[in-house]
Amino acid sequence: MGVVLDPEKSRGSGKFHPRGDYPVRMFHVSKSYSPGTWALQDVSLEVGRGQFLFVTGQSGAGKTTLLELLFAAERPNEGQILVLGRNIARLRGGAIPALRRRVGVVFQDFKLLPNRTVEENVRFTLDVLGTPRREARSRVFNTLRQVGLQHRRYDQPKALSGGEQQRVAIARALVGDPEILLADEPTGNLDPELSVEIIELMIAAARRGTTVIVATHDISLVQRYGMRNIRLEGGRLLEESQEGTPS
């Protein structure tokens, strides 16, 4: 549990999200990068607290775009998005960092800082949250152990294999114990056994109350767990199946 930002407290209070049961809500959202083509079209979606959601779809279907809208890296052209009770479209510049600190993201291309060690990359999330040094160190170490990389903590990303870098990105997203976890293709560079371990880490986070959204093309992984699962095709939300929260 964080010290500065105790997830239990803020989640329970409902102060930031009166309809706190749905940290993520999208209403008829569309996003276009260039006129005439839609990366996302008329997507409506609600994800409850502690829920685990798989987003699947072909390459270019809009999975990354969906996640980017949720942490305000992109703005929707149409529709409303409420994340932790805040209207993303109306968010002022200064409020975006504050929101992002409550959201953990695993980027499809990792986005690790190349000149920092693994430990610094992961600890950075906690520095931003203001966690005391001593506590930060032990949390970073524990999280790195969970992804099997505690022995590489003083290496720089470029000395790591693709899968190892991906796990650092996952550790960085998890270490702050965020209220929402967005993971974009988090097992793209991992073998099946490791993939299962990572997904189970995320499921554990969901059990602790984190809302987890995982974009993936690995359908065998999706089938393995009986999780809620939506499918995008050409930017449209096509099917929704297997409702469920791990318990």
């Binding site: 942490f71 200064g94 960092p97 986005k111 950075f124 931003v128």
Partner: protein, 276 residues
Amino acid sequence: MTAWVSVLTISVALFLVGAFYLVVINMDGLLEEFGQDLTVTAYLEDHLTVQEMAGLAETVQSIEGVASVSVVGKEEALERFKEMTGGASLLVGIQGNPLPASFEMTLRPESRSAAGISILETATQGLPGIDEVRHGQEWIDGYARVASLVRVSGYVVGLVLSLATLLIVANTIQLGLYARRDELEILQLVGASRTFVRTPFLLEGTLQGMLGGLLASGLLWISFMIFTPSLEYGLAFLLGQAEPRFFGLAQISRLVMGGAVLGLVGSVAALMDRRS
């Protein structure tokens, strides 16, 4: 490595500004020395008492443009005359001391011009007890021209150099930022606030600037030590008795502060530019 490029660039730029500043200071010293020789002499009427003279000196002292007033008594005037003419033979047969007492006034730098002189003249001429006011008009005009040329070209060159320095430093810092653009972007994506992202950059820029200023001071000192002896011959001719001077502590700290400001402004400019 980008950090060292900035430090180096700032130091080189400040070295140029500093070297120019050093030349101006020494030119100023030289002009000041010449300026001290520029005096206006007011001859006094013979009947003044010592008290009257002292009162008059005070009045003259308070006139705008007057830097100092020194009283030359009748005896001193005679002494000087004898010295200059190599004996008192010219005065043989003349009774008493025919030479008047006088005030020698040096001028404030801003009044060392034809205009300044004529203001002073008008102001002193009318005072009771003052007989006549004299000065070397030509000398003063030449002095004023050279001084204004040095001053104006000093401003112009100083301005151009400072702008060039600012431009170069801002560009260098911006390139440094550009090389680290991924880092800045990632920091923002992970939820770092603007302040969190920017403060280290601004601090770094400021520190780099200060280091640059220190380095420039060191380089200037070394150059000064190396070059002044070899230039002595020519310098002696130009500077007269004036010794070439190096910066004092105040001026060095101004250079370091200048570096800090450059680094800071450069960083701010570079960060602002990133927004667009």
